[in-house]
């Protein structure tokens, strides 16, 4: 009797634990497996390429890290002002219909597969606008991909500001620019910065769009202008993984994957840390 009573009491809890377990276990197993495969492959030789020969290994990985960071930073620099502008317009001037339209559009843009953005970038920026396979074309396409994320995050940051604070500022005669600079900016920047870091992590994790628009397999280590192509960690992994028969090359691919995960985690965890500080500040 006691057993059945206990079972009834905890059945919902048990069921929820059972069905939520894969959500925790599978990513953890993946992460551990990647680190287990990748960490041994990471050493000065594979990073610098000194004394290493083989498919795609001669130049190490510094060039790819640099290329990934350049694309990520460029995309964020391009997307951030547009995202901020749209979020402010949304809050200050857009009527209900415009707000609904913008919201639908943002969710629509967010659901477009990245490969489609890549295809669009290839035809429009690379061919039609003659930008060629270049850092700039990649930055623009990545900026388009992360834009909805940044706008939605900025909207979330502004929504978190109390109506009373905005109304009080208005009642004191502050105009739109003063309201933005003196009230909204100091209150919203931690959340906005968090979104920016998440945008950086997202830009770092995209491969398909830059495969079409910005990257080459080799021949460029340190691009001298934004009109040159780059090599990146993401595409490097893609190319190396195609050499599945060569165990050494595949192990380097795991090393590159570990590096990429480390970079993405760096930005994601910093974002998480900032969010916690902000929440703690708001509560206290």
């Amino acid at each position: 009797m006691m057993f059945w009573k206990a079972l009834r009491q905890y059945r919902v809890k048990g069921l929820l634990i059972l069905i939520s377990l894969p959500a925790l276990v599978l990513p953890t197993i993946s992460l551990v497996y990647i680190l287990w495969q990748g960490l041994p492959a990471l050493n000065w030789q594979t990073l610098s390429g000194e004394g290493v020969t083989g498919f795609g290994l001669e130049h190490g990985m510094f060039g790819q890290i640099w290329g990934s960071l350049l694309l990520m930073l460029g995309a964020n620099v391009l997307a951030a002002p547009a995202a901020l502008g749209l979020a402010l317009f949304f809050n200050l001037y857009a009527n209900d219909n415009t707000q609904r339209t913008i919201f639908t559009l943002l969710h629509l843009l967010q659901s477009i597969p990245p490969i489609v953005y890549g295809l669009f970038g290839l035809f429009v920026f690379v061919h039609l606008l003659h930008l060629g396979i270049s850092l700039l074309a990649g930055m623009i396409i990545l900026a388009m991909i992360i834009l909805p994320l940044l706008v939605l995050n900025a909207l979330h940051a502004l929504k978190a500001i109390s109506v009373e604070q905005t109304e009080s500022a208005r009642s004191l005669g502050l105009n739109d620019m003063q309201l933005i600079c003196r009230v909204w900016a100091p209150l919203a920047w931690p959340t906005m910065l968090t979104g920016q870091l998440l945008g950086m992590a997202r830009a770092l994790s995209e491969t398909a769009p830059i495969l079409f628009t910005a990257t080459v397999f080799s021949g460029v280590l340190w691009p001298s202008s934004i009109f040159e192509p780059v090599t990146t960690l993401q595409t490097h992994i893609f190319y190396l993984a195609q050499e599945g028969g060569n165990a050494h090359v595949v192990s380097i691919a795991w090393g590159a994957a570990t590096l990429l995960i480390a970079l993405v985690l760096l930005f994601s965890l910093t974002a998480l840390f900032l969010r916690r500080i902000d929440q703690h500040h708001r509560i206290s």
Binding site: S162, E164, Q165, E167, S168, A169, R170, S171, L172, G173, L174, N175, R182, V183, P186, L187
Partner: protein, 264 residues
Amino acid sequence: MPQQLNRIETVVKPVNTMEVEASRLCIDHLSLQLEGRAILSKLSTTLPATGIIALIGPSGAGKSTLLRCLNRLYEQWQGDITWAGQSIRNRDTDLLRRQIGLIGQKPAVFPCSIRDNVIFGLSRQQRRAIADEEIYKALQQAALWQEVEHRLGEPAEHLSVGQQQRLCLARALILKPDMLMLDEPTSALDPRSRDIIERSMMELGRSMPLLWVSHDLDQARRISNHILFMCDGKLIEQSDTESFFNQPKRIESREFMRWSVCDC
């Protein structure tokens, strides 16, 4: 600078005679619809030039909305509102809001020091040139000086809710408004803070009109010189406080005083 606030030792008695003729705020057939619903319906009145005007009525009567129309936080109204003979539509919005201050129900302080909060509404040049005497005067008028005298550099969030509400008041007063609107400013406060604000407002009411939204009929009777009773977006009755409470003209007013509800 004087180191101590001259406290208001006695409760200031409301001024009973009010010069309606000298009024500067006139509302003429004010109507407002929000999302297809009539919030204010052809509301007309003329506010006295000084004293506390209590705006009372049941929840949803449109009292707070009326305040937001008067300083143009809502713009989509019909009819006319004139301030010193000129339609407020033709006035500079930011300037109008400085002249007609609004204090909300919940105090909203900004993430900066107490001192910076007081001078928040001033322009950059004014903030640079502001004399400590001005800050002292505003805090004194808001009956907050004694409590913050030695902590002006502290974050305003550290103040209690009652102190924050008085800080909001000081922030509005430093702009030297011609009129103040208060939307249930004491509803979230403890009795002591409520009494302090009431006394300082009654003092202020001697020199400017204060439009005070209140759900508390006792408070309205205690502090106001004039009553505006609203229900369902309409102005039901307007009279001086004594007449309203002793001899209400409308049955709705009597019902409201008895049951705190209105059947209009």
